[in-house]
């Protein structure tokens, strides 16, 4: 049994984002990159499914710059078995990304293909369900944990303040959110082993993008706030300001 995890390399969530002189791109200088946080949860669940089954492989796939190798190596060090890097430049058109991944993975012999619910750079929240629709797989989004059976996968998913248990027919696509299982850290042994694991790199059969970025801008700075006061005695003034000034209550 093979499980495929699609992952993306993104700026570390602590990184300050600076827009470069072109006005449509982020300045890469000094940016530290990581595996997108939800994709780490996806890798963790894939590894757990393999451990539960007592057999199988976890394959990582990314579409991105050659430097994304580093993210794949990190996933291999967590315990994945092999990795594929489709080189190219994904942009803000999630459908183009989904098509590019589908061109490679359509008909893949894997009951499950896992995605993160959203990538921490473009925040599109769309590539997983688009991929599923393109390749004709069942799809469950926002999955916190799952159990794989012979002909179906049973997923716990989050919806507006409740959890749902959803069964999906195989083959399926699941988009993974933060759940009960924190992503494991790579051990030293894992890091050594990762160096010898297969990592294939080849050019992506990229689909053209139909979304054009006209401009990137920084968010408007929030107007300077004020400390209303110290302790409970400041409460009446806070309530007055919320009512009369902010009109928020």
């Amino acid at each position: 049994m093979r499980t495929i995890v699609c992952l993306k390399r993104v700026p570390d969530t602590e990184t300050r984002i600076r827009i470069d002189s072109s006005g449509v791109k982020v300045d890469p200088a000094g940016v530290k990159y990581v595996i997108s946080p939800y994709d780490e949860y996806a890798i963790e669940l894939a590894l757990r499914a393999k451990e539960a089954a007592g057999q199988g492989e976890v394959e990582l796939v990314t579409y991105g710059e050659p430097a994304a190798q580093e993210a794949l190596r990190k996933g291999l060090a967590m315990g994945a078995d092999s990795a594929l890097l489709l080189t190219g430049e994904p942009g803000l058109d999630g459908l183009a990304t989904a098509k590019t991944l589908a061109a490679e993975l359509r008909g893949a012999d894997a009951p499950l293909v896992l995605f993160g619910v959203k990538a921490a750079d473009d925040d599109l929240q769309q590539v997983g369900p688009m991929f599923a629709t393109l390749v004709g797989r069942a799809c469950v989004t926002g999955v916190a944990s799952f159990t794989l059976q012979a002909d179906k996968v049973t997923c716990e998913r989050e919806v507006d303040g409740a959890t749902e248990v959803v069964e999906a027919q195989l083959p399926a696509v699941l988009t993974i959110t933060k759940g009960p299982h924190e992503p494991r850290l790579a051990s030293l042994k894992g890091i050594m082993a990762a160096k010898k694991k297969p990592l294939v790199e080849k050019p992506a059969a990229a689909s053209p993008a139909r979304v054009r970025i006209l401009a990137l801008r920084e968010p408007a700075p929030r107007p300077a706030g004020r400390i209303v006061g110290q302790g409970p005695d400041a409460v009446p003034e806070l309530v007055r300001l919320l009512r009369d000034e902010a009109k928020a209550i």
Binding site: M130, T141, V228, R243
Partner: protein, 329 residues
């Protein structure tokens, strides 16, 4: 032709607030494109009750698809009906809410229609007959202004980012019975746990009372619940990741990078330090209030109003003051 379709969600048997925002924007865009705005509502038998109201928010025509198989949101069934309507109407643009349902549905619709999707947009305008939208990237650390080169332009709108404005239109109602084949569905909901029907989701609430590690433990949450109840309806509880990781609150309430992104009118951060990953989820709130005993906590840098003090002293007082304000008004 510049007609625009708004897909409007029903929740707990009625059209909710976020749907009216979608309708209002669809109407504004339709005017910009020289067409009219149509609404599509899906649900079980009787879903058409009360949809005439949508005329007030600019619906020239309201189409209601009623079927037993549409009573609850089912991705494949909803996507197939929606794609059918979107194709038949030849729409220039289709709008949905970036709600839990919208986030699940919109990408499937995009793939079926073979058009790109702009998710979670916070601004929409028509320039030279084309749609220009703005959406957050890098968890709100930047905004991208984009143009979509496809028809229909498919857009999901961030809840609470747009006003629901009244603007009358004809509002004719047409009920149809779509073809839904339950046997063709490949996913099935087998259980709903803790389904707190009627509870407001944190991503759609107009006010959020959010607690952090400063709350000390899960047993103290009654203090935040009391404040929530005093503030009235459409108020949700939120949480920092530290609180969710400690198991005090469910992940559904987590605000931030690996939780929900919210844009309420009022966000109260109680005992939350204001880490960059938390700010990513709530910095676009209209008004931010912070209660923290550490005057140097980063949350005060984004807060409009702050109280430096022990939350266990401040919270009960705040709840009492708001109750008396409500009682007096």
């Amino acid at each position: 032709m510049g007609n625009v379709l708004a897909f409007l969600e029903r929740r707990d048997g009625r059209i909710g607030g976020a749907a009216l925002e979608v309708m209002s924007v669809a109407q504004r865009v339709a005017i910009g494109l020289g067409g009219s705005a149509h609404a599509l509502v899906l649900g079980g038998p009787g879903a058409s009750a009360g949809v005439g109201e949508l005329a007030r928010f600019g619906a020239a025509k309201v189409e209601v698809g009623e079927h037993d198989g549409l009573a609850e949101y089912t991705p494949e069934a909803y996507a197939s009906v929606l794609v059918e309507r979107a194709r038949q109407g030849g729409y220039a643009a289709v709008f949905l809410s970036a709600s839990a349902v919208g986030r699940d549905l919109a990408p499937r619709l995009a793939a079926l229609l073979d058009v790109p999707l702009a998710t979670d947009v916070t601004a929409v305008e028509v320039v030279d007959g084309r749609l220009r939208v703005e959406r957050p990237v890098y968890s709100g650390k930047a905004f991208a202004q984009i143009e979509i080169d496809a028809s229909p332009a498919l857009v999901s709108m961030r809840p609470n980012a747009f006003p629901a404005t009244e603007s009358a239109a004809a509002g004719t109602v047409a009920v149809f019975t779509p073809a839904v084949d339950p046997a063709a569905l490949r996913t099935r909901v087998v259980e709903r746990k803790l389904a707190s029907r009627g509870a407001v989701d944190v991503s759609e609430a107009t006010t959020i009372v959010s607690g952090g590690r400063g709350m000390k433990d899960a047993a103290q949450w009654h203090l935040l619940e009391a404040l929530r109840d005093a503030l009235g309806p459409d108020v949700a509880l939120g949480a920092s990741r530290a609180v969710v990781d400690a198991g005090w609150r469910p992940h559904a309430e987590q605000v931030g990078q690996t939780g929900k992104t919210v844009a309420p009118k009022l966000y109260l951060a109680v005992g939350i330090s204001g880490a960059i990953q938390h700010l990513a989820g709530m910095r676009t709130a209209k008004t931010i209030v912070a209660i923290n005993r550490d005057a140097d906590a980063p949350i005060f840098q984004v807060a409009d109003y702050g109280i430096v003090g022990d939350l266990f002293e401040v919270l009960p007082r705040l709840t009492a003051e708001i109750k008396s304000l409500r009682a007096g008004s």
